[in-house]
């Protein structure tokens, strides 16, 4: 069950979490307001949400917007870096694939 969110009561930063709920391919996923979409997905123990040419999963790699491994579609807009985009309540996230059969991959 990893990765995971640091529990608020264990956190030296003294947090007061407010939930944020997004959907990922239609399934609701709850995170903490202020997290990026990548943060919400990781805290929900998801490590892969994009699929490359050969079908292998990818998720976060660089964490700062450089590698483009974490691309997702947000509210219909493709190629959004999940590590850079703040999650907003109700965001509809769909995962992307670059499988050739898909025809309209992420690029």
């Amino acid at each position: 069950m990893t990765p995971r969110l640091i529990r608020p009561d264990d956190d030296v930063l003294d947090r007061d979490d407010r939930p944020v709920t997004i959907t990922v391919d239609g399934t609701p996923v709850t995170g903490v307001a202020g997290q990026s979409i990548a943060g919400v997905l990781l805290a929900a123990a998801r490590t892969a949400w994009r699929y490359g040419h050969a079908g292998a999963g990818r998720g976060v790699f660089c964490g700062i917007g450089v590698c483009f491994d974490c691309l997702v579609t947000v509210n219909g807009v493709p190629d959004v870096r999940a590590c850079r985009r703040r999650a907003r309540d109700g965001d509809a996230v769909t995962t992307q694939t670059r499988l050739p059969a898909d025809g309209d991959g992420d690029r």
């Binding site: 003294d14 947090r15 997290q35 943060g39 990781l42 999963g57 990818r58 964490g63 700062i64 703040r86």
Partner: protein
């Protein structure tokens, strides 16, 4: 009134904005993130409801005071969530005159309806920082294998621990804060692996390393991380690294191996360690696309790494353009701050004073620290030893080592088109330097260094030359540019640098 534009609000850029304001300039500070801080002072955003932001940060109080001073200054305009996607020559002819025009997009990251603006300046300070250098190894594309910086950014900004049982590997002192942060997040750090051997590290830092470290302000911080690791009994092994990651759909174990001084693998020294995440970093690579777009000359270190060429006052070869922080060398936040402070003051036309000369000395000390750091934690030339023909090198296009080797003798452009290495979404940001290094090992074309990079800022093919520095959507490109709103009218005052 001098108009100074600062790109990047990390330690370097924020400092530059502060002293440029002190020297009486009108300042526009541009930052892609929602808040200043950069990589070093990364913290959860306000929405997170964090009461004690300072708890995990070194020097947070000084940073917060500088941030508040800059953001509330009547002559400062802060543009958060604003990405610089291009720099353009102001005239039709590449005039050697004023600094380039700054093209920005404001709005949600990678959104479809961001606001486009063009900002003019009398002086431009580039402070966009660096990203982790990552050498490929078999399995590095598996989910759960992340850069050391990513693990750090996730803890600091998202309060997420990347795994429960983690190995931290690579080279350089940055591995220590990453391991300490993971411990603080409740992860078990199974091992910290520094690829360089003790002799190399001691020789690199030199006879009295503490003098240097003290100058750059890093020693107490590093000692604290080392104490944290010792308290948690984390084994720190030198001369060993991760040479392979394995797992079904995500990393489940890593193979570590002992390395010789040149980073070739000692046969038979392989061990496996069960993990659910691996954090790997081999130092930092400066983000050179904006400096190259501005026409700034680069310089090459003896080990082949490239940085922006600057004089002792942080001036680049392009008049009116300064480069600071990780762009000029890798020496950590205190050095980045000193560089920003000096460049901001001078960019604003501030007079030479004893305080300015003291800053010049701090900048020089930072430069010496960078040299020792690089000498103590080099990338060993034999690292391709751990690649196999089916090892992915270009992550975006999934180009393997075998394909690159087969194309080694070709012209770089031909091989790029043929293999598609560097043609994916990241545009070679991750694999570019690696592919160039592998090409140099293969068959360097006669009469060139085989890397085809600009020395003089000329617009030749280069892994850093990206006319579009950050992604822009076609609709945004087609939309008209909003007029740039004039910043508030200035009240001249000259404070201390």
């Amino acid at each position: 009134m001098t108009r100074v534009v600062v790109i990047g609000a990390g330690p370097a850029g924020l400092s530059a904005a502060a002293t440029a304001l002190g020297a009486g300039a009108q300042v526009t500070l541009i930052e892609a993130a929602e808040q200043p801080g950069g990589q070093y002072h990364r913290a959860p955003v306000a929405e997170f409801g964090v009461a004690r932001r300072e708890a995990l940060q070194h020097g947070w109080r000084d940073f917060a005071a500088r941030r508040d001073h800059v953001l509330s200054h009547p002559r400062c305009r802060f543009l958060p969530e604003t990405t610089v996607w291009a720099l353009e020559d102001p005239g039709a002819t590449p005039a050697r005159g004023g600094p380039p025009l700054v093209h920005v997009l404001t709005g949600q990251a990678d959104g479809a309806d961001r606001r486009r603006r063009v900002i003019e300046s009398d002086a431009l300070v580039l402070a966009v920082g660096a990203h982790d250098t990552m050498l490929p190894f078999p399995g590095w594309e598996l989910p759960g294998v992340v850069t050391a910086g990513a693990a750090q950014a996730l803890v600091k900004g998202e309060r997420v621990a990347i795994g429960d049982r983690v190995v931290v590997a690579g080279t350089g002192p940055f591995l220590l804060p990453v391991a300490a942060a993971l411990l603080g997040a409740g992860s078990t750090v199974r091992q910290v692996l520094e690829a360089n051997r003790p002799g190399r590290i001691a020789a690199g830092w030199g006879a009295r390393p503490w003098q240097l470290a003290g100058q750059a302000g890093k020693l107490p911080e590093l000692a604290e991380y080392a104490a944290t690791l010792a308290r948690h009994r984390v084994p720190v092994l030198l001369g060993r690294t991760v040479v392979e990651a394995r797992g079904d759909g995500r990393v489940e174990e890593v193979v570590t191996a002992r390395l010789r001084a040149d980073w070739s693998v000692v046969p038979g020294s392989e061990r496996t360690v069960a993990v659910d995440a691996a954090c790997v970093g081999h130092g930092f690579t400066p983000q050179l696309e904006l400096p190259v777009a501005a026409g700034c000359a680069l310089r090459t270190e003896p080990d082949g790494r490239r940085f922006v060429a600057v004089d002792t006052d942080l001036r680049t070869s392009r008049p009116g353009v300064y480069a600071v922080g990780e762009l000029t060398g890798i020496a950590g936040a205190p050095a980045a701050r000193a560089e920003g402070a000096l460049a901001g003051w001078l960019a604003a036309g501030g007079p030479d004073r004893p305080a300015v000369r003291a800053l010049r000395r701090q900048v020089a000390a930072g430069r010496r620290f960078a040299t020792r750091l690089a000498a103590a934690h080099p990338i060993g030339p034999a690292w391709p030893d751990w690649l196999r023909d089916d090892t992915v090198v270009c992550r975006c296009e999934e180009v393997c080592y075998g394909a690159l080797r087969a194309a080694a003798g070709q012209d770089p452009r031909v091989s790029k088109l043929g293999t598609r290495a560097g043609m994916g979404p990241c545009q070679g940001r991750i694999c570019g330097p690696t592919v160039a290094a592998l090409r140099a090992l293969g068959a360097p074309p006669p009469g060139s260094d085989g890397l085809d990079r600009p020395d003089d800022g000329a617009r030749r093919a280069s892994p850093y030359h990206r006319p579009i520095a950050q992604p822009i959507r076609l609709g945004e490109l087609a939309a008209s540019t909003a007029p740039d709103v004039a910043p508030p009218q200035p009240v001249p005052d000259k404070e201390n640098p």
